[in-house]
């Protein structure tokens, strides 16, 4: 994935998030926006982890930015979800090593995480670590799908 294009789209996403009330948009659009936002967060976490910091530092730095926004009472909502809270979970997907998932695959895993978070997190978030478990499941699913695809190509 081209990093400049990713940065541009991510900045555009954030400007939409801050300046427009997305709750008035059709539900399908909100779901798509939510999923791809999580995908980009996961992608940037992995990019920073691979280029500059280790995965834990990278996730913590991005989480710190979200935490500061939340502390300042800035919490954009999509489908009754606090976007920054769920996005902190997407940083766990980005902690995946490039050995297992490339940039595009992490983006897909992040999107899958965002999609499944919409359905699951409301019922499970009262237990700590739920976002991490969901992130782990999403990473494993994408890794296995890629493995099956490669295995079929070999055959």
């Amino acid at each position: 994935m081209n990093i400049f294009a990713a940065v541009f789209i991510f900045l555009f996403n954030n400007s939409l998030l801050f300046w427009i009330n997305l709750n008035h948009f059709p539900v399908v659009l909100q779901i798509v926006f939510f999923s791809q936002y999580m995908g980009f967060v996961a992608f940037f976490t992995q990019y920073i982890a691979e280029k500059f910091l280790n995965p834990v530092k990278s996730s913590a730095v991005i989480g710190l930015i979200f935490g500061i926004f939340l502390q300042l009472n800035i919490h954009p909502q999509i489908l009754q979800f606090n976007v920054f809270t769920v996005a902190f979970g997407a940083t766990f997907v980005g902690m995946c090593s490039a050995k297992f998932l490339s940039g595009w695959a992490v983006f897909v895993a992040g999107c899958l995480y965002g999609l499944s978070a919409l359905f699951t997190l409301q019922s499970i978030s009262f237990i700590g670590g739920a976002m991490g478990t969901l992130a782990c499941l999403c990473c494993l699913v994408v890794i296995n799908i890629l493995k099956i695809a490669r295995w079929k190509k070999v055959i």
């Binding site: 913590a60 730095v61 935490g67 502390q71 766990f92 090593s97 409301q122 700590g128 782990c136 494993l140």
Partner: protein
């Protein structure tokens, strides 16, 4: 030879624990919202190909100390900040301390995740149970899922779930 056998059993127990955690996660989701029964299919896809990789030698007591520190510091910071800021601040502060092994820094993060739920409090027996469970889980799974995102969260989730079961279901 003895170490190989020991690692074999450690990996088997670790795999079962990870599977149990993910199963519990799915059970919780389906229990709360039965209409999402198809979410359980994710378990099948996540368990097709798995093999243990590097054989690390983590020390259980170091893991225990750092998971306890993660839990305790985050609970203190949670009094002043929101949970996400508390978790990230504590973890980042530890990252810049020298002479601490990398796995201990990771386990600090796992201990911090366990506090993100609604019912983990300071001065409660959760500060005793959760680090113990997290450390044991992390020690058994030290050869598994290395480099896969969300492993630390899974460790934290297992600790928090065991605490939830003990405090709210048994007592």
């Amino acid at each position: 030879m003895q170490k190989k056998i020991q690692n074999y059993f450690k990996n088997k127990i670790g795999l079962s624990l990870i599977f149990l955690t993910q199963l519990v996660f799915c059970v919780f989701v389906i229990w709360q919202k039965p209409q999402f029964w198809y979410f359980a299919l994710i378990l099948i896809f996540s368990w097709l190909f798995l093999q243990p990789n590097i054989h690390n030698q983590q020390k259980w007591w170091i893991v225990l100390i750092f998971s306890f520190l993660g839990l305790y510091f985050t609970l203190i910071l949670k009094n002043y900040f929101n949970p996400i800021l508390a978790v990230c601040l504590g973890t980042l502060m530890l990252q810049f301390l020298p002479k601490i092994p990398n796995y201990a820094k990771g386990i600090f993060y796992a201990g911090a995740f366990a506090t993100m739920g609604d019912f983990v409090f300071l001065n409660d027996f959760s500060t005793l149970i959760i680090p113990f469970v997290c450390a044991t889980f992390a020690w058994f799974t030290q050869n598994l899922h290395n480099g896969i995102g969300g492993k630390l969260g899974t460790i934290g989730f297992f600790g928090a779930t065991v605490h939830f079961v003990i405090e709210f279901i048994i007592f």
